[in-house]
């Protein structure tokens, strides 16, 4: 059976892994290659590296450390940040990334999704969505790497999710911004709504604080994977303990 995936997310800035709360006040948590190997040893199923300021700084996630990670890592990994063209994507895939994730650039020019899918196949094209909830619904934001530059897009999350998959995206990472870094659990109503309209693998992001949150999101929202950062970086949750607990509650995981 296909296992549910546990995906540590490493936010990268200036070649170091950092973590902020609701995208603010970033602190350095460690070296990229060292952390990648540590998570691999702990049983992570996949890793995601977000160069969080790439789009804001007008550049792309750097290939030199992607290559270093690929040399040592024997599990899949995805990179994100400022990938605005087929050529920038090609360099990163050739450096060894298994998937590339696009967020702000896809919002600026949605055809980018079609171009990347045509060039590399849908299996390696992930669309990340930063979604904010208010009384009127779920809304997509862009440029979330820097709070001062974060913008409303006017798009609703579910419409954008469906459009991205119609354009060929092979996976969706839905980051529920209200939950990010606050450890109150994944946004279940939003993820349940997203699951209903998402025909491709769906990854939940934002809000993991304890083991039961992972159990809830797999059981209630039926997502394919759960992404988290601070609970892993701060060692609040150890991946082996998380996975054995999930297994014990009947969730298929790779031990």
């Amino acid at each position: 059976m296909l296992a549910r995936r546990i995906i540590p997310c490493l936010d990268v800035r200036d070649g170091k892994v950092v973590k902020g709360v609701q995208f603010r006040n970033h602190e350095i948590v460690g070296d990229i290659v060292e952390l990648a190997l540590r998570y691999r040893q702990a049983g992570a199923d996949e890793l995601v590296f977000y160069d969080i300021t790439a789009s804001v700084d007008g550049r792309a996630v750097q290939s030199h450390w992607i290559r270093k990670v690929s040399e040592v890592l024997d599990i899949p990994f995805c990179v994100a940040g400022g990938i605005t063209s087929v050529e920038l994507a090609r360099e990163r895939l050739e450096a060894g990334a298994d998937k590339i994730s696009i967020n702000t650039p896809a919002l600026q020019r949605p055809e980018l999704i079609n171009e990347l899918v045509a060039a590399f196949g849908r299996q390696c094209i992930v669309v990340g969505i930063d979604s904010f909830v208010d009384d009127a619904g779920f809304w997509v934001k862009s440029h979330t790497g820097a709070p001062a530059q974060t913008r409303e897009t006017g798009r609703t999350t579910l419409d954008w999710l469906v459009e991205a998959t119609k354009r060929g995206a092979g996976e969706i990472v839905l980051n529920c911004m209200n939950q990010d870094g606050v450890k109150n659990g994944y946004d279940l109503p939003q993820l349940i709504a997203a699951r209903k309209v998402c025909p491709v693998p769906l990854i939940a992001s934002g809000g993991a604080g304890e083991i039961s949150h992972f159990e809830q999101v797999f059981k209630q929202a039926n997502v394919d994977g759960a992404l988290a950062a601070s609970v892993f970086h701060k060692k609040t949750i150890a991946i082996p303990a998380l996975k054995s607990r999930l297994k014990a509650t009947g969730i298929e995981v790779r031990l």
Binding site: L2, E46, D74, P76, E94, D98, G121, Q123
Partner: protein, 197 residues
């Protein structure tokens, strides 16, 4: 060169090379016909779509060379799919080294593409599966697959069962990515570095 990785023009060549290096074997990524012909072992990686991979191989003048190899060959993911006669993907002809066609994976109620870690079952007695057990996980990412057939070495289920590994004589194929399948993948690659055709 003992291990050669065929430059299929696809994007994951470096990852496969790094995996072989982690096993302590040097390797060369090449599209040179003579180098491929004289290699002890040949890896045929691939990601993306079958029509563009086949188009690349035609442009590089590699079709005849790949069809005539007698040393151990391992096709990975799309590299396994193009070993067969035809693919439904873009109604594309393959290398025709193994009888059978590649079809769109019927994932039933599950999301497509099939992406993530899935289990290997009904393992055949084969040197590439030495040290691998029923239920071991490997990493898949694909939406086309080879149905179970007489060449199947291991099966995986996702909506329907399909061939996770195949073999015909000196030609092996893995639908999953051994270079990204942790210890299990490393074991399969290490086995490949030992097999004789």
């Amino acid at each position: 060169m003992s291990v050669v990785i065929v430059d299929t023009g696809c994007a994951n060549l470096a990852s496969v090379g790094f995996a072989i290096e982690r096993l302590g074997s040097s390797n060369l990524i090449t599209r040179d016909v003579e180098v491929i012909r004289s290699a002890e072992r040949v890896l045929l990686p691939g990601v993306g779509a079958a029509p563009s991979a086949m188009q690349n191989l035609r442009e590089f003048g590699l079709i005849d060379c790949l069809q005539e190899l007698t040393q151990p060959v391992l096709g990975i993911c799309l590299g396994m799919q193009i070993l067969f006669m035809r693919s439904e993907e873009g109604a594309c002809g393959g290398l025709g080294l193994i009888k059978g066609n590649v079809t769109q994976l019927e994932t039933a109620q599950f999301p497509s593409p099939h992406m993530g870690w899935n289990t290997l079952h009904d393992l055949a007695d084969d040197p590439l599966l030495h040290g691998i057990n029923d239920g071991d996980y490997s990493y898949f990412v694909h939406s086309y697959a080879v149905p179970v057939n007489q060449y199947t070495l291991a099966k995986t289920n996702y909506g329907t069962p399909f061939s996770a590994m195949v073999r015909k004589e000196n030609i092996w194929g893995c639908q999953f990515h051994p270079e990204r399948s942790g210890q299990i993948g490393a074991q399969i690659l290490a086995n490949f570095l030992q097999v004789r055709s």
